[in-house]
């Protein structure tokens, strides 16, 4: 059973281009994994969100296995005022990150955007479909992620605020 080699990748562009997200995946206001376009911290009670990040588990070296049970979580709890959220989206429904699909700001702290699930330190299933690793490229659906920043966030402005490590797990058989 030749195991596949997999990688977390992020999709950008109008017609999606997948790139290694293991080289960093900054939550920003840009269709980019590396841009540091900042998210403004609310000046009153409320939550603002980053632009979406289209993350996917991708096969970079094909195998003879299949992957299922794709889950996502955070390695540690985030700082007060920061929350990550995710939702399952089929690769075929990829949408380029843009201001138009940025979740609407909320008037409440700690808001979870509609259709998203708050990410925790417990792995949460986002795609349980069994997909063969015989082809390279995305394997299974995307976990589309956003970062929420609310008024209670005490960190100062800057381009390198600490976001918890993201943990992706999957079963290969």
């Amino acid at each position: 059973m030749a195991a596949a080699v997999c990688q977390a990748q992020g999709g950008t562009g109008a017609s999606v281009t997948w790139a290694n997200a293991e080289g960093g995946c900054k939550f920003n206001l840009a269709d980019s994994l590396t841009s540091t376009t900042p998210i403004a911290i609310p000046t009153a009670t409320g939550t603002v969100f980053s632009w979406i990040k289209n993350l996917v588990l991708a096969v970079t070296t094909a195998g003879t296995t299949a992957i299922t049970n794709r889950r996502i979580s955070m390695a540690t709890s985030p700082a007060t005022g920061l929350k990550l959220h995710f939702k399952q989206v089929a690769v075929a429904s990829y949408a380029q990150a843009a201001t138009g699909n940025r979740p609407a700001s909320s008037g409440s702290n700690g808001a979870v955007p509609s259709t998203y699930t708050e990410m925790t330190t417990t792995p949460a299933l986002y795609d349980n479909t069994s997909v063969a690793t015989s082809s390279t490229g995305p394997n299974g659906d995307m976990a589309v992620c956003v970062l929420g920043v609310d008024f209670s966030y005490a960190g100062g402005p800057g381009s390198a605020q600490a976001v918890p490590n993201i943990v992706v797990t999957y079963d290969e058989q």
Binding site: M1, A4, A21, E22, G23, T61, P123, V163, E172, Q173
Partner: protein, 115 residues
């Protein structure tokens, strides 16, 4: 082109009649898929002869490798990447999973998501 990425442990299924079906052998240097095992004939599952689970009659044998990668959104690397092997069985509401970590530590549980 398939690159063989061997793991710390490989599985071997042993049938009731004594037949052994290893993940890798001379006839299958690229390895077998676990789906090739005849589930109804499996008496025991082993990981590199170091860990073994007996499969009850009528139960479905289970094998998977749980891969975990931890990404740092801010920096330029995978913080860690680990694999936990699992052998076990499930039968109706009952199940038994033996998780074996890369360091050899084990967890026996009926929860497939325990690791």
């Amino acid at each position: 082109m398939i690159t063989i990425a061997k793991d710390a442990y490989t599985w071997c299924a042993k049938y009731h009649d004594g037949t052994q079906i290893p993940e890798y052998d001379e006839s299958r240097p690229n390895g077998r898929g676990f789906a090739e095992v005849s589930a109804s004939q499996v008496a025991t599952l082993e990981l590199s002869s170091a860990h073994k689970v007996a499969v009850p009659h009528g139960a479905t044998p289970v094998f998977f490798r749980r891969r975990r990668m931890e990404l740092n959104p801010s920096n330029d690397n995978v913080v860690s990447s680990t694999t936990t092997h699992c052998i076990g069985w499930k039968k109706g509401e009952n199940a038994c999973y033996l998780f074996v970590s890369e360091d050899g530590s084990t967890l026996l549980t009926n929860d497939a998501q325990a690791v």
